[in-house]
């Protein structure tokens, strides 16, 4: 049974595209056939995050408007043979597709892939509605900030109104040190406010910037804490029971000492 999962948010810039690329790659690394779809029409991004921007010939709108077959528009990933990208159109706007087009497209992709991950534009407008139209499940990304959580709350209400079941939450860019100093809302604060299920926590990680610069996803880099967090989320998505770990910043001296005694040093379970 293939699954179509849309990754969305209320506020922009919280990490949807980063999450889509990394979760797609992580699932493909598990040997699953995965398509990632850039539904942010007019603001194409997923291709550059994955380093595939030079290979694009056709895009999503070309498929929808019948200028090419789906197969022709799908781009194979550089590293992972089981991962494909369907890029967004860059020169069109979101009115170029309808919700029905997206449902039809999702169903076409279902036939070929185990997982279809759709990168949604931010906000509550047509682009968002189209992006969730064909989805079976929805993941909502937020950062632990007031504006992002507020907008996430709004989106959760909409997703539930569209009868997409209960969305699950990714908390991105968490800084465990700031949380422990009481300078950033904790996972529990955010969950209490939003009252939805958590699927994972991704720490703030400079390696996201460097890997994005290179057009390589962080899950390919074993030393990336964010990459490890995304790999765990992918395993949870696939149904594995993986406890939620918060990968801390460079372990401090205390952690290292405890680490020497075999106490889990880099991550702490919630």
């Amino acid at each position: 049974m293939s699954r179509v999962i849309t990754i969305t948010s209320g506020k922009g810039g919280v990490g949807k595209t980063t999450s889509t690329a990394n979760l797609g790659a992580a699932l493909a690394m598990q040997g699953l056939k995965v398509a990632v779809v850039d539904a942010d029409i007019g603001l194409r991004n997923l291709d550059v995050v994955m380093g595939l921007e030079n290979r694009i010939v056709y895009d999503l709108v070309d498929v929808v408007e019948g200028r090419c077959r789906l197969r022709q528009a799908l781009i194979k990933d550089k590293h992972l043979p089981d991962l494909c990208l369907l890029p967004a159109a860059q020169t069109r706007d979101k009115d170029a597709v309808t919700a029905d087009d997206m449902i039809a497209l999702a169903n076409q992709l279902r036939a070929e892939f185990d997982y279809v991950l759709i990168d949604s534009p931010a906000g509550i407008e047509a682009g968002f509605r189209n992006a969730i139209a064909g989805a079976d499940e929805v993941l909502i990304v937020t950062t632990p900030e007031v504006a992002a959580v507020r907008d996430a709350d709004r989106i959760i209400g909409l997703v539930e109104a569209f009868e997409k079941g209960h969305p699950r939450l990714i908390i991105n860019r968490l800084k465990p040190r700031m949380v422990s100093r009481g300078e950033m809302m904790s996972i529990d604060d955010v969950l209490q406010i939003l009252a939805i299920d958590l699927i994972g926590v991704v720490p703030e990680d400079e390696q996201i910037v460097t890997s994005t610069n290179r057009g390589e996803v962080a899950v390919l880099d074993r030393s990336s804490r964010a990459g490890r967090a995304f790999s765990e989320i992918a395993r949870r998505l696939a149904g594995e029971d993986v406890p939620i770990t918060v990968f801390d910043e460079n372990p401090g001296i205390l952690n290292r000492i405890f680490g020497a005694f075999g106490i889990r040093a880099r991550g702490s379970e919630r």
Binding site: V146, R181, G182, E183, M184, D189, Q192, I193
Partner: protein
């Protein structure tokens, strides 16, 4: 007054953690978002509530009423905490 307090709080290390402030602000703003209740209307609600309660329970402490919005599984809850002054009765 507020400034002096916050200065003293900082001095004695009692300054409220910014994460707590963030959480409280969010809860307030979400009340507005979800129920379309402005802070002004909220104050009015508290005043009306205490007036009604006071008709039946004279010991109601109007200033200490707290109305909060909690999100539940399928419904939200508008929750009022209405403290009553403990009258020094002799038994």
């Amino acid at each position: 007054m507020g400034n002096v307090m916050s200065f003293l709080d900082t001095l004695f290390g009692k300054r409220e953690r910014s994460s707590d402030i963030a959480r409280d602000r969010l809860l307030t703003v979400l009340v507005h978002d979800r129920v379309k209740l402005t802070p002004d209307m909220m104050e009015q609600l508290k005043a009306d509530l205490s007036a009604v309660i006071a008709r039946y329970v004279p010991s109601v402490d109007a200033g200490a009423i707290e109305v909060t919005l909690l999100r539940g599984e399928s419904v939200d809850h508008l929750k009022a905490d209405i403290p009553l002054r403990r009258t020094t009765q002799k038994f």
